[in-house]
């Protein structure tokens, strides 16, 4: 490495006194490590891009949500009327209820499968682990819109393989019109989300397991803990940071879900898979109610923050009680 690194290490760990170490550190520390406003200059390009593509649109959405606007004329300011209407809008509640159900499929089930698989796979040999990890992770590299189109075909009652197989093995009674059945459409779409996310959850948990101190497992074994007890009392508590990350990401994914549902059902049949983002799309781009659609978007964003904040708080409490 460079002399700079060596000097820095010297500075930190060498025998020099504090007074003699300080000037050497100042000479060698990167300019980017300095405190103060000068470095803000380097942040400006990124900040500008963030402002133009993220912050300003969010701000614009907040302003638009306070107006009635068809996208053409000058918007009319209506204050909080869109929000008041939203909370008495039955379809919005249907969308929220469906989204809550989707959280189970986007978040809870993949997390449970991911943890279980990670616990199993972590005990197999390196080569097998690598192969299984790659295999289970593969769905996650595919765009969800593509998955939606593919599964729409797989589920097709007339020529889709799922029903063909069911009929071939004598289970024709179970060959339902999956994406047209009010009871089964949501689990059918949700199952695709499970398939998409479980591999991702598993990989995160596998990497988390590599972080766990092996002496904990040795100690558990010495105390006579069996496999299940070790998993419950050692592995799972140690994986809390990973579980928190997975929860955060999958909950955000479930609340912003759009492409998978849009390609498979467009929110149907009869709003059975309607979620706030599909509702927002319909209101904005099909019915030209941009103000009301923006209000749906803002409420969705607030929901993401509130739910994730609640989960963080809950997990922190769990952490504290575990420690």
């Amino acid at each position: 490495m460079s002399a700079t690194t060596a000097q820095t290490i010297d500075g930190e760990f060498g025998p020099a006194t504090a007074s003699s170490a300080r000037p050497r550190l100042q000479q060698t520390t990167s300019v980017l490590d300095r405190a103060g406003g000068g470095n803000l200059l380097y942040v400006i390009p990124g900040l500008l891009i963030y402002a133009v593509f993220v912050f300003l649109p969010i701000l614009a959405a907040v302003v638009i949500s306070l107006t009635e606007w068809n996208g053409l004329v000058v918007p009319t300011f209506v204050g909080l009327q869109n929000y008041i209407n939203l909370f008495s809008d039955n379809e919005f509640y249907i969308a929220l209820r469906n989204n809550a159900a989707f959280i189970v499929f986007y978040c809870v089930v993949p997390l449970a499968i991911g943890v279980a698989l990670a616990a199993i796979i972590s005990n197999v040999g390196n080569r097998e682990r690598m192969a299984l990890r790659t295999l289970f992770f593969l769905p996650y590299i595919m765009p969800t819109a593509v998955l939606g189109i593919i599964f729409q075909w797989l589920y097709n009652p007339a020529f889709g393989p799922f029903n063909q197989i069911l009929k071939a093995v004598g289970l024709g009674r179970l060959a339902l019109p999956w994406l047209g059945d009010f009871t089964w459409v949501l689990p059918a779409v949700g199952a695709v989300a499970v398939w998409y996310f479980f591999g991702f959850c598993m990989v995160v948990f596998l990497s988390g397991m590599q972080r766990i101190d092996p002496s904990l497992f040795d100690a558990a074994r010495a105390d006579g803990a069996r496999g299940w007890q070790t998993f419950w009392h050692v592995t799972l508590p140690q994986l809390m940071p990973e579980i928190r990350v997975v929860l955060l990401l999958t909950i955000i994914a479930s609340i912003k879900s759009f492409d998978l549902i849009f390609t498979m059902t467009r929110g149907g049949p009869g709003n059975a898979t309607l979620v706030p983002n599909i509702y927002m799309y319909e209101l904005g781009f099909q019915l030209n109610r941009y103000g009301y659609a923006a209000a749906v978007a803002i409420v969705g964003a607030i929901l993401v923050f509130v739910i994730n904040f609640a989960i963080h708080q809950g997990m922190r409490r769990l952490d504290r009680s575990a420690n």
């Binding site: 589920y155 097709n156 994406l179 047209g180 009010f182 149907g268 049949p269 099909q286 019915l287």
Partner: protein
């Protein structure tokens, strides 16, 4: 090597100079670029419009066309905002009805074309009931006032039948009356043959089926109530015809008259299944001619009318309207846009569309151009409709939210968890709310 390069550069420069001179000369006469947007993204349609554009350019030296093709959804989503921002097309396709054309007229983003209608005699090529679908008053009343568009292609919702499936089930000829139609459907059911190919997961076969049957029960002489309803003059969706059609659909869905798993099948897939021989009937529009003509056993006819209705309405209309936008600021551009539109509804254009298997809104002059037997059946039907003033309406034009209301409630009607009465009530509630919102 260098010599060759220099020679090529010189040749290129000379070519550019000649081209520039030519452009300059043309500019002195009629150098204009016409910016057009259309929705002919389908391969077959794209080939026709490209050919028509070439023909138009050949007849108008010095004119260039800057064409953009967008899908129906993309066009609908971007057109208003683009024209409102002062960009985009000077002549464009635009969806009729309140959501798109009505909104653009209200914001003065489209120009009235009444003078051109008279100048080119478009009112002689297209019937008045067709032109009315692109008419808006200054007060925003649909169906009356100034003309804002014309259309080159027609559309009808009718009854496709597979003669082979009917014959195999012992039905020698297609039904002539609605009563015969019901008897045929019941006979098919009794033999275990699915009477209807239908898919409700996507597209709108169920909507076309329901409104097609409903409007076949209305005689052209009694069409005023439907016209008033669709043009936003008021009325009700709670009619006996609507209720009967909803009851019939619910009965057919519940009692197994539809192909297996219809609720999980998209409309386009149902059409493919029908072409492959599943189902004896399919009720939908002429836009499926291209798919249907691959099976010679499939024919097209008007939905049969019940006894007492001699001139039944047929749901239908016209392809998206050609309109001139506010971007055509000067008279010369507006005139050029009108010339372009005139060519799009010319007999020559009708022949080109018919030759490619599409359904022109004006009668083709070249009978040899019509090769598809389905198209021949459709054109004969269109003539009867025009003579009888019996072209009905798309019910979802009645309010900006009506299509969503149909889409949201139809699956419940067919699944049996919504009564036909409640279904019709939901449609009417949507309509009356819209009427109230526009002060009627």
């Amino acid at each position: 090597m260098l010599d060759v390069l220099i020679h090529r550069l010189r040749t290129g420069a000379a070519g550019l100079a000649v081209a520039g001179l030519a452009a300059g000369l043309c500019g002195a006469t009629q150098a204009q670029t016409l910016v057009t947007w259309d929705d002919y993204t389908d391969v077959g349609q794209n080939a026709v419009i490209e050919q028509l554009n070439k023909n138009f350019l050949a007849a108008h030296p010095g004119v260039t066309i800057d064409r953009t093709a967008r899908t129906f959804d993309d066009l609908s989503m971007t057109l208003k905002l683009t024209v409102a921002a002062g960009n985009g097309p000077q002549v464009t396709k635009v969806n009729q009805g309140a959501a798109d054309q009505g909104t653009m007229v209200k914001q003065k983003l489209l120009l009235p074309i009444d003078d051109y209608v008279k100048q080119y005699g478009w009112d002689k090529r297209l019937s008045d009931s067709v032109l009315a679908r692109m008419r808006w008053s200054d007060a925003g009343q649909f169906g009356e006032g100034n003309d804002y568009g014309i259309s080159g292609l027609g559309e009808m919702v009718g009854l496709y039948y597979n003669q082979k499936v009917l014959s195999d089930a012992g039905i020698a000829t297609p039904p002539k009356t609605f009563e015969e139609f019901i008897a045929d459907v019941d006979a098919l059911k009794a033999k275990g043959v699915p009477a209807f190919a239908i898919g409700t997961a996507k597209q709108h076969i169920a909507l076309h089926m329901l409104t097609g049957i409903e409007q076949a029960h209305i005689d052209a002489s009694n069409r005023k109530a439907l016209d008033d309803l669709i043009y936003g003059r008021g009325g009700t969706f709670k009619t006996q015809a609507a209720l009967d059609a909803a009851k019939l659909m619910a009965h057919w869905a519940k009692d197994g008259y539809f192909i297996d798993g219809y609720s999980g099948i998209a409309g386009n897939d149902a059409v493919q299944l029908f072409v492959a021989g599943q189902g004896a009937f399919l009720l939908d529009g002429t836009w499926y001619f291209g798919d249907m003509q691959t099976n010679p056993d499939i024919h097209f006819m008007a939905i049969p009318a019940p006894a007492g209705v001699s001139k039944p309405l047929t749901v239908g209309g016209i392809d998206l309207s050609w309109s001139i936008t506010s971007n055509a600021k000067d008279k010369a551009t507006q005139d050029l846009a009108a010339q372009y539109m005139d060519y799009m509804v010319s007999p020559e254009a009708a022949n080109a569309w018919a030759a490619a298997g599409f359904f022109p809104s004006t009668t083709p002059t070249d009978e040899n151009a019509v090769k598809s037997s389905l198209l021949k059946e459709g054109l004969a039907m269109w003539k009867v409709l025009t003579d009888n003033n019996a072209l009905g309406h798309y019910a979802d034009w009645a309010s900006p939210t009506m299509l969503k209301t149909y889409d949201d409630n139809m699956p419940h009607l067919l699944a049996g968890d919504m009564t036909p009465e409640a279904f019709v009530d939901a449609l009417d509630a949507d309509y009356q709310a819209y009427m109230k919102s526009i002060g009627k």
